[in-house]
Amino acid sequence: MSKDVKRTKRNKITAIVVIAAIAVLLIVGIILTDPLYQTTEDISEVMKDAVLHEENKVSLFGYEVNPAYISSIAVVLLLLGVALVIRIFAVPRFKLIPGKFQLLVETVVGMFDGIAKKNSPHRNGLLGAYVFAAGCYIAVGTTFELIGIPVETTSGVSVSLPAPLSDINAAIALGFLSYFVILSGGIAGAGLRGVGRTLKDFSLPISMSFRLFGALLSGLLVSELVYYYISLSFVLPVIVGVLFTLLHALIQSYVLVMLTTMFYGEASEPHIKKPKKQKPTAKHGAAQNNIPVSQEV
């Protein structure tokens, strides 16, 4: 056996031993620290608070806000920060033949722009920018809960920051904003007719809001349920996290973007006057039926 093979085998064994030791230490740490964070709330209270956010509030400049609002601010700052970094360091170095990172940025922007153009061919300037922001917000906001940044509530309890859209207020804000964007597109594209087309779908903001809220909430509830019991906190969160967070992030972004663009396209479609059908005159009609005019009258 050559020296290289022996060395590779030794490296593999070392890696396995190190990983196993870390896993054991983590498990021991989890079990030992568990009594420190014994909650007095039972699972029904935890889940109710996850839905309603009645109990746990966070203080923000003297205002009591839901933890999801703090998440929202964090997500907005994160997105704007990343965008600023890309704008300052990457965009000026963009080349005609793109590199990997440039290709990624262009693909994301081009994808939202393409969806806007495809579903609303008449007007899509504002729409593309809006769906880009909304899509990024939903995707990043939903995956944000995976980080689990802890904040202290006004009652002194520590909670991890949830996804912004798991708060119904955030979902309503996004749903109504999408509706207003559609309405603005209707006004800009087809005037009063566009307003009429948009108002016809008056249930749209509610359905959009509650769809987002329901989808995000389901993930949150399952996560709360899983993390409530320590016995479920191994292996399972990986699957749950992927299923209820990553997939939701992509699916909900796609759904809201598609719905907004489709309704926008429908509302902003310019009206085309149909040519009037010529009614046959009484004389002509009578002549056709071989009926004397006097008789027909």
Binding site: L79, D113, N169, I172
Partner: protein
């Protein structure tokens, strides 16, 4: 409010979304889209230029093909013309050569005649000298004298006989 809906929080979220929308549009979406559009225009321009160059090349190719076709005709015409010219030249050259040959022949004949006449003249003198020499030699030789003596004797004899008969 049911479901803990709070208008203040909704407005706060709306403000957040507005800031995010405007910020992302100005910071990232617009510059990236502008760059992509610029590149698209650049490629469109290149494509247009390539198309123009291709069209020009096609046009030139057509022109060249046409020129080539006309050049073939021109070449054939030139060949024909050259052939005719060559034929004319050849005929003229032949005619000149014949004339020259005739001149040369006439000169040669003339010269030959002159040579002949001169030779004949020269030969006449030579023959005369030769005959004179031969005659002289013949006269001077002893055999001839004997024969002459015999001839004279015979002639005298014959004259005497004829006198006797008379």
């Amino acid at each position: 409010m049911p479901l803990n809906i709070d208008w203040q929080q909704i407005l706060l979220h709306l403000l957040n979304l507005l800031i995010l929308g405007v910020g992302l549009y100005l910071i990232l979406y617009k510059p990236v889209k502008k760059f992509m559009q610029k590149r698209e225009e650049s490629y469109a321009e290149r494509e247009e230029k390539t198309g123009d160059a291709l069209r020009e090349a096609e046009q030139r190719k057509g022109e060249y093909e046409q020129k080539l076709a006309s050049a073939d005709e021109e070449i054939a015409e030139l060949k024909k013309q050259a052939s005719a010219e060559t034929e004319t030249l050849r005929a003229a050259t032949l005619r000149d050569a014949q004339a020259e040959a005739e001149d040369i022949l006439a000169d040669a004949r003339d010269k030959a005649k002159r040579e002949h006449d001169k030779m004949i003249a020269d030969i006449g003198d030579d023959i005369r000298d030769l005959v004179s020499d031969m005659a002289e030699k013949a006269v001077m030789s002893p055999g001839v004298n004997e024969a002459y003596e015999q001839f004279l004797n015979e002639a005298e004899k014959g004259e005497e006989e004829s006198d006797g008969k008379d």
